[in-house]
């Protein structure tokens, strides 16, 4: 069977929305166990947790957190879009909804970054 390296059918906003939703879900699935493990340090090793929290004040860690919040937003708002797609009557504004989910994720992550920079 012939494979098309350019895959022009994937130059479609809704295909990108699918990919972002899938990748953000996988990244969050990898992140959550780590997140809970760090939280567990509060009970088992408070000094290690304190050291870790100081490490999160570094600017490049803040940028990493920005990315995480963006992924969380993308998965949350993208998930709402898909639930609306499957539960509500059909709308021809599918691309608008996908763009809106992306915009809300970006705004949420940016607000988080401003807050993190201002309040530490």
């Amino acid at each position: 069977m012939i494979s098309y390296s350019l895959a022009p059918h994937r130059r479609n906003l809704l295909w990108s929305a699918f990919l972002i939703h899938r990748l953000s879900g996988l990244c969050l699935a990898l992140f959550l166990p780590l997140h809970f493990w760090v939280l567990s340090r509060a009970l088992h090793d408070p000094a290690a947790l304190e050291g870790f929290l100081k490490w999160t004040d570094l600017w490049y860690v803040k940028l990493g957190e920005y990315l995480l919040v963006f992924l969380l937003g993308a998965h949350f708002f993208g998930g709402l879009r898909l639930m609306a797609f499957e539960a509500l009557p059909w709308s021809n504004r599918q691309k608008t909804f996908a763009a809106l989910a992306f915009a809300l994720s970006f705004i949420s992550a940016t607000l988080f970054l401003f807050s993190a920079v201002q309040y530490g």
């Binding site: 069977m1 295909w15 898909l82 059909w90």
Partner: protein, 243 residues
């Protein structure tokens, strides 16, 4: 005379490669015209499929520059870039018999598997069902009923590429038209078929089927509607309120 470079996929499922042909450029010509010229004047062994040439039969679906299209209604000017080269291949997601001809058996088997054949609610001795053209069910059926089974949506679907068992957009679109057809008996069997492992819940809503449908149908909307109807049916059954 100006020519167009046409790269045509030659071979079978096991092995295929592109062969290059030069075809005279015309003021008005379709991609099917290019393939026909090659077969008539350059290489009569080229295999391809067509019938009506006017966008009604759905037999001339091919990949053109990597995108599924009905070639009889695809003007060369629409797909010809500055390089004056067009790549033509067999439809994706279906086994290649030879050159540009694919085996549509799987496609139609799935069409039947979703309950796509007619299940009459009346016999020949009973009067025909009266259908209001303005009823909500009929209007929903109308939106899905014009499918010509060209396989373009099936070839554009990445879910079919990843899961060969998935029924695909055309079969599910057919199921949705029957669910809304008052002449169809035992609609629950259709809902049961489309809610199985190969059914509508596999759809990832990428909506390439709707983007590429040459008849501008919306299989994505049909599949989303099937999901809603299956969900409502399951809830009804759960509370002992089935139809």
């Amino acid at each position: 005379m100006n020519t167009i470079t046409v790269q045509v996929s030659r071979g079978s499922e096991k092995h295929s490669e592109f062969q290059t042909f030069e075809v005279p450029e015309q003021e008005n010509q379709t991609v099917l015209d290019l393939v026909t010229y090659i077969q008539e004047y350059i290489d009569p062994t080229l295999s391809y499929r067509f019938a009506c040439r006017v966008g009604m039969c759905g037999s001339c679906g091919m990949m053109v520059n990597g995108e599924p299209r009905w070639t009889c209604r695809t003007h060369v000017k629409k797909v010809l870039g500055s390089s004056k080269t067009i790549e033509v291949g067999p439809l994706k997601n279906l086994p290649v018999i030879k050159d540009l001809v694919v085996d549509m058996d799987t496609f139609f088997d799935k069409w039947i598997a979703v309950g796509g054949v007619h299940h009459p609610s009346k016999n020949r001795h009973q009067s025909i069902e009266k259908i209001s053209e303005l009823s909500a069910e009929r209007m929903s059926a109308n939106e899905a009923v014009e499918c010509i089974n060209c396989g373009v949506c099936y070839a554009s679907c990445d879910v079919v590429s990843a899961n060969s068992d998935y029924f695909g957009p055309a079969a599910l679109n057919r199921a949705w038209s029957l669910v809304n057809d008052v002449k169809t008996k035992n609609k629950d069997s259709i809902l049961e078929a489309v809610s199985g492992n190969a059914g509508c819940h596999n759809c990832h809503s990428q909506q390439n089927c709707s983007n590429y449908c040459p008849n501008e149908l919306n299989p994505s909307a049909s599949i989303a509607s099937l999901k809603r109807t299956v969900f409502a049916s399951k809830i009804n059954n759960l509370f002992g309120n089935s139809k």
